[in-house]
């Protein structure tokens, strides 16, 4: 398929992820939506990599995957800590900047 199709798909995936980030209250779901965003970026990278015949895109995507894993781990840890303190993961309620 022409690369552009993949690009549109990747942007759409990113957009869906953004929608999830902006419009969901549950922090967990928000984190999942962030993963979606990252995957959108990955897809674009892979598509370009194929078009240009260069494997650098793959390497970059690889690093992104590793990074996403680390970020998910830390983010979830924070979430767990937050839950312990506030007893909620509803982002609407966790908006006070300082207690």
């Amino acid at each position: 398929m022409p690369t552009i199709y993949y690009l549109i798909l990747s942007f759409a995936l990113f957009l869906i992820g953004t929608t999830g980030v902006l419009l969901r209250r549950n922090a967990l779901i928000v984190l999942m939506a962030i993963e979606l965003q990252l995957n959108g970026g990955n897809l674009a990278l892979i598509a370009f990599s194929r078009q240009l015949g260069d494997l650098k895109g793959h390497v970059f995507a690889f690093l992104i995957i590793a990074l996403a894993a680390a970020e998910a781990a830390v983010g979830l840890a924070i979430l767990v800590g937050l839950f312990r303190g506030r007893q909620t993961v509803n982002l609407d309620e966790i908006t006070l900047m300082k207690r």
Partner: protein
């Protein structure tokens, strides 16, 4: 010839500065040493200048120019001092009596915690007063004028913790200010017409038919200038209508009253008139007004003095009255006489005030004469000095006699100077004679009630009555000597056919012109008459008050109690002013406060920006400070979209360049001088009807209109690549 005249005011200013900076750390003795030393220094320089340098100087006296003060176009004023007979005499008075009062204050203010501040202010005052008299031009004099006003305020309200004292200081300053306004107008007029503010130069222009005699508002310029300057004098020298601050000023320490409100500051007005004497001589009408006001004040104040029960208040009204005498003197063209009385008055009034201080010191701070009496035995020195000064002011023997007579005699003979208004002078002469009677009466009343008879005070106060320490008595004695002998320097030449006996005249005539011509008859007649009146006054006082309150005084008081109350209340002038001026002004100020301050400024000018800032702050906070992370991301996305939107918009110009030629128009829709990118498409709608006549075209187009009129051209710019567009409109008129 120059001389270091600047030292004369400079030393006291330095003293004041040093004391203000370091005075609090020093011991009392050091403070007095510095202050009195500064004045003594000034005194020595003044003596040197007056007695050694002045006789050798040119006719206009010694001059010292410190530098150019104002140089603004044609206006050039130097900071310069001049010492001639007139200013030299005043300098001597100020420094000498000032020195004595410094010594006196060392004892009087001994227990006061604000010792250094007092002496700093005293020095400051002396410096300002010296600037006033030494000034070579009206603005320099005005510096001193204002300076003494300030010091008067500071010193009257010295014990400012009592509200009454602070109010008295305020009153003095404010009333003075009203006078200062008149002074300024007078200065402006003089500058306008004489083109200069320097005394020598003004006096040079003040000739018959000179610039100052030009018509202005009905009379001459000289008249108005003289009149307005005199308004300033009424403020500073406590004449009607601006005298009301002087009695209140007695709230200040007694040395202050002695120095400022007897010997020096209040005489500034008289000095000023004497300085401007040539201007006044050009305007007999002004002289008449001065004379009338002076006479009225002299009489009025004397009457008020009849019923005052506070020692210092009696003296205060006495000062007002005596100043009236001085103004009659200068008002009738007898400038020498006025200055002569100024000079003798300085001695005996200062002496009287210092006696008051001594008596109050003895009476544990009370100045109430109703509880005094019999102090003759207990305060011998004070008593002796008081007698000398009392007789001087009554015009019986001693100096007051000669100076007062010279004024009254001059008033009777004022034909040459006052021309058509000479009758005013004569009337004033009679009024002053009555005032002299009154003076004798109230001063004798004071003497009898305080020093004779038995003490009417409580035992507690009686117990503490003692004579003052040497530091206070010493200056008293010196002043008494001056009061006694000063008159003899001004023996009227006409009387004894020995003009050379009139030492004062020798000094003053170069400045003020020749002594007034008074006939021998008038001279003797006035002398006799004044003495008779004085003895009459003393006699009546003795009848009423000899040895305490006697039957006649009690009978009189019970016969006309309302009258007595009225006089005691100073004819309720203060209340009248309150009603006429103060209360309306206060209401006006309150109205302004309410309208301008509360509504205009607070509600509108402050409230609106506050509300706006609050609104925008809230807005910003809702966007930025909500703590809602998703909101931030949303704003982020919005920002990115915004950036993209503005980045890909095609660049249409701010205004089309339309050139009209007849019925045709050339439209240039380029932006600046840069070449347009290829991807832009222009479409032109020459009548703004919604349908472009020309589309897909380049940046320039031409169109010819069918009918003349006013059209709106709309150009749409489309970016074919990014598929965005913008448009711009322009009106054009085709004929």
């Amino acid at each position: 010839m120059t001389f270091n005249l600047r030292l004369i005011p400079l030393l006291p200013f330095l003293g004041a500065a040093i004391l203000m900076l370091f005075g609090r750390k020093w011991s009392r003795d050091t403070v007095v040493a510095v202050a009195a030393g500064a004045i003594a220094g000034s005194c020595l320089v003044a003596f040197d200048a007056f007695f050694t340098a002045l006789p050798l100087a040119e006719p206009n006296g010694l001059r010292d120019t410190v530098g150019t003060w104002i140089s603004a176009g044609p206006l050039k004023i130097d900071l310069a001092f001049r010492l001639d007979g007139l200013s030299g005499l005043l300098c001597l008075i100020i420094t000498f009596i000032g020195f004595l009062i410094h010594i006196y204050s060392a004892g009087y203010m001994e227990h006061d915690p604000d010792y250094p501040r007092f002496f700093a202010y005293l020095n400051l005052f002396c410096g300002s007063m010296l600037v006033l008299v030494l000034g070579d031009s009206l603005p320099v004099m005005f510096i001193g004028w204002e300076g003494v006003g300030l010091c008067s305020y500071l010193l009257i309200g010295f014990w400012y913790k009592e509200t009454a004292n602070a109010n008295a200081g305020k009153k003095a300053f404010i009333v003075n200010r009203i006078g200062d306004f008149g002074f300024l107008i007078g200065m402006f007029l003089l500058y306008q017409y004489a083109g200069t503010l320097n005394f020598q130069e003004i006096n040079a222009t003040a000739t018959e038919g000179g610039v100052l005699t030009q018509p202005l508002w009905g009379t001459t310029a000289a008249f108005w200038a003289a009149l307005f300057l005199f308004v300033g004098a009424t403020g500073k020298s406590a004449q009607i209508p601006l005298y009301v601050w002087l009695p209140d000023a007695m709230a200040g320490p007694t040395p202050v009253s002695a120095l400022i409100h007897a010997a020096t500051m209040v005489t500034a007005g008289v000095y000023m008139v004497a300085r401007m004497h040539l201007v006044y001589l050009l305007a007999p009408g002004a002289l008449a007004i001065v004379t009338a006001v002076g006479a009225a004040t002299a009489l009025f104040a004397a009457v008020i003095g009849f019923a005052q029960n506070d020692f210092k208040k009696v003296l205060a009204y006495s000062t007002v009255s005596q100043l009236g005498f001085m103004f009659v003197g200068v008002g009738t063209g007898n400038f020498e006489g006025g200055i002569f009385h100024l000079y003798t008055h300085a001695f005996f009034k200062a002496g009287l005030f210092l006696c008051a201080g001594s008596v109050m010191h003895a009476m544990s701070g009370s100045g109430d004469i109703t509880i005094m009496g019999g102090l003759r035995k207990k305060l011998p020195w004070t008593h002796a000095v008081f007698v000398v000064c009392w007789l001087a002011i009554c015009g019986v023997v001693f100096s007051g006699f000669l100076s007062k007579d010279s004024i009254i005699a001059g008033a009777m003979s004022a034909d040459e100077t006052m021309k058509d208004f000479a009758w005013v002078g004569r009337l004033a002469g009679y009024a002053l004679s009555l005032a002299a009677l009154g003076t004798a009466f109230y001063m004798s009343r004071l003497y009898f009630l305080v020093f004779t008879g038995e003490t009417r005070a409580s035992d507690e106060i009686k117990h503490h009555i003692h004579e003052s320490p040497a530091s206070m008595v010493g200056p008293l004695v010196v002043l008494a000597i001056g009061a006694a002998l000063a008159g003899f320097t001004g023996l009227p030449g006409g009387l004894f056919d020995h003009p050379s006996w009139n030492l004062l005249n020798d000094e003053l005539s170069p400045v003020l012109g020749p002594e007034m011509e008074v006939s021998r008859l008038t001279e003797i007649g006035v002398m006799v008459g004044a003495t008779v009146f004085a003895l009459l006054g003393i006699g009546v006082a003795w009848i009423f008050y000899g040895g305490g309150y006697r039957e006649p005084s009690r009978k009189f008081a019970s016969a006309v109690p309302k009258l007595v109350k009225l006089v005691q209340d100073k004819f309720r002038i203060d209340e009248l002013y309150q009603f006429l001026f103060v209360r309306p002004l206060k209401r006006f100020a309150q109205a302004i406060y309410f309208v301008v301050d509360r509504i205009l400024i607070d509600k509108i000018l402050v409230g609106v920006p506050v509300a706006a800032v609050d609104f925008f702050g809230r807005l910003a906070r809702s966007v930025q400070g909500s703590g809602d992370g998703q909101r931030y991301m949303a704003v982020f996305a919005l920002g990115a979209a915004g950036v993209l939107y503005f980045a890909i918009r095609p660049m249409a110009p701010d205004a089309l360049k339309v050139t009209v030629s007849g019925m045709g128009v050339d439209v240039d829709a380029r932006r600046g001088n840069k070449p347009t990118p290829e991807a832009l498409e222009y479409s032109y709608d020459f009548d703004d009807g919604g349908k472009p006549e020309l589309s897909g075209a380049g940046p320039t187009a031409h169109h010819t209109y069918a009918r003349p009129g006013s059209y709106t051209i709309r150009v749409d710019v489309k970016d074919t690549h990014w598929k965005t567009s913008s448009s711009v409109k322009q009106k054009v008129t085709v004929r």
